[in-house]
């Protein structure tokens, strides 16, 4: 029986307790993992979370439906548009609001660009964890800054856009901006992607560091509740954009990136391919973009009817679920975020035992944490 408070297995001196975090550069935020080591091998691992618990779910009950969009941005601060979109979809389902076609296209466009920037952060983080200090990080930020400039031109903010609205989006995107973005995605971005791939999957040291590390089967991962790219890397074709399309995904031509190997390298490959797929989707959306309204008229004091709905979306990290409940008033009765990484992280105690301590961070990088959404 492990007693973490006492520092290891009771009555035994063979194993050693190592605390990683909460202030540690490779935990990507404030995560604390208590590991018990036998030599270099992890015997048990227990993630401790809650260091960033801001009580967003309670705060949401004090604000009106529209005001809560501000909190959605700050949930998973690496994938802001995904959260906004999921919340808007949930409220729209609850209140029976329809969204104009152009707004759906714009949402999908920003959602996919967001997937690129989110995966780029993962890329910077995971390469740093395995020892490539600096170089891939700097390169990842090149494309990210370009896309962030686009966000800023469109929404007025770099990181906290607050751009989607219930029933549409806040402001339209200029044709010139779109043309500019398209140009970037078609010409420069694929070259950037080549660089990313060369630095990660084309680098012999990185490959030998990742290959075969943390290989899991689809059954195991499904059992542990893992979703998203981490699951697809084991060969599962599960992707809500294809299985239960929302936005305009049913009109787009894209490939669900999955890989059979299931190890850390496969997880990296899947994410790198998703970056390219997302860029392709964005180009398609820009080409297909129809003219028209961007916002349906909704009452300022929105009061959805009584009831509750749960909506699932595919965020860059996995299946993001938003459950909203209304009691017919101007404020939500309950706002629940089913965070994909919360459950991905809960699989860590199953995933880590038997691996080396140094491999732990590689496996850990494979699920791409963002503490804001885990702790809420």
């Amino acid at each position: 029986m492990v007693n973490f408070a006492r520092g290891g297995v009771e009555g035994s001196t063979e194993t050693m307790l190592v605390n990683i975090g909460p202030q540690h550069p490779s935990t990507h935020g404030v995560l604390h993992i208590m590991t018990e080591l036998a030599g270099e091998t992890v015997v048990t691992a227990k993630p401790v979370i809650g260091y960033l618990h801001r009580g967003i779910e309670k705060l949401a009950e004090q604000r009106t439906w529209q005001q809560n969009l501000v909190l959605c941005d700050r949930l998973d601060y690496v994938a802001q548009f995904s959260n906004e979109w999921a919340y808007c979809r949930a409220v729209e389902k609850l209140a029976g609001i329809s969204v104009p076609e152009r707004a759906e296209y714009l949402r999908t466009l920003l959602g996919e660009l967001n997937r690129i920037t989110s995966h780029l952060i993962w890329y910077a983080g995971v390469t740093m964890d395995i020892g490539a200090l600096g170089t891939p990080f700097i390169y990842a930020w090149v494309a990210r800054e370009k896309i962030f400039d686009f966000y800023e031109n469109v929404t007025g903010a770099r990181m906290m856009p607050n751009w989607m609205r219930i029933g549409g989006v806040r402001c339209d995107i200029d044709a010139a901006l779109l043309a500019d973005m398209r140009e970037f995605l078609v010409s420069d971005f694929p070259k950037e992607c080549d660089v990313y791939e060369a630095l990660l999957t084309g680098n012999e040291i990185v490959v030998s560091r990742m290959k075969g590390v943390g290989a899991f089967t689809v059954e195991e991962l499904t059992d542990w509740g893992v979703t998203g790219p981490a699951l697809r890397a084991s060969g599962s074709p599960l992707d809500l954009r294809r299985d239960a399309p929302y936005g305009v995904y049913d009109k787009l031509d894209f490939e669900v990136c999955s890989d059979g190997a299931g190890d850390s390298l496969a997880r990296a490959r899947v994410r790198l391919r998703e970056i390219r797929e997302s860029a392709k989707m964005c180009v398609q959306i820009i080409d297909m973009l129809p003219e028209g309204e961007i916002q349906t008229k909704i009452p300022r004091a929105l009061k959805p009817p009584e009831g509750d709905v749960c909506v699932r979306t595919e965020s860059p990290r996995g299946e993001l679920g938003i459950l909203v409940a209304s009691d017919g008033s101007a404020k939500p009765l309950r706002f629940r975020v089913r965070s994909p990484i919360f459950y991905n992280l809960s699989a860590m105690p199953h995933m880590l035992p038997g691996h080396l301590l140094a491999d732990m961070l590689v496996i850990f990088g494979g699920i791409d944490t963002s503490m804001g959404e885990i702790d809420r």
Binding site: G225, L238, D243, A244, D308, C310, L323, F342, S346, D375
Partner: protein
């Protein structure tokens, strides 16, 4: 919704109401665990476990996926005087953390969960913030 899942629900004395995003089945607290176990055997996948405070009771919600695309929820309500429910953590491993969170924020205890401690708030906390009886302090300005 697959017919075998509907059949399992009817064995446990409940039925599915609503459609799409709103499909739900309410079970008694006694049938909660068995029903979830049968659904798991029939291939339902875990999505989420959470709760809503309904005033005089707390409704615990288990969202399950009927692969690949549809989802539905299984609900059981616990009266305020007796906030306990059987654990699902051995049926669905991720439910362990989900139940800890429900305990942390609502105070519902899950019998049989191996680690029924606070997960998000500090250990020293004494509040259950998502209960309606817990009211946030007003700002002084």
């Amino acid at each position: 919704m697959r017919s075998d899942l509907v059949g399992i629900l009817s064995i446990h004395g409940t039925a599915l109401h609503g459609l799409g995003f709103d499909a739900r089945a309410v079970v008694t607290r006694e049938a909660w665990r068995d029903c979830a176990a049968d659904l798991q055997m029939a291939g339902a996948r875990f999505f989420d476990i959470t709760a809503i405070d309904r005033g005089d009771s707390v409704e615990v919600i288990l969202v399950l996926i009927d692969p690949p695309a549809t989802h539905f929820s299984l609900r059981a309500s616990c009266p305020n005087e007796d906030l306990r429910l059987d654990t699902l953590s051995d049926i669905f491993p991720p439910a362990e953390w989900g139940e800890r969170e429900v305990f942390d924020l609502f105070g519902v205890e899950f019998d049989g969960n191996p680690d029924m401690t606070r997960i998000l708030q500090p250990e020293s906390s004494t509040i259950f913030p998502l209960r309606r009886s817990f009211v946030l302090e007003q700002r002084p300005w």
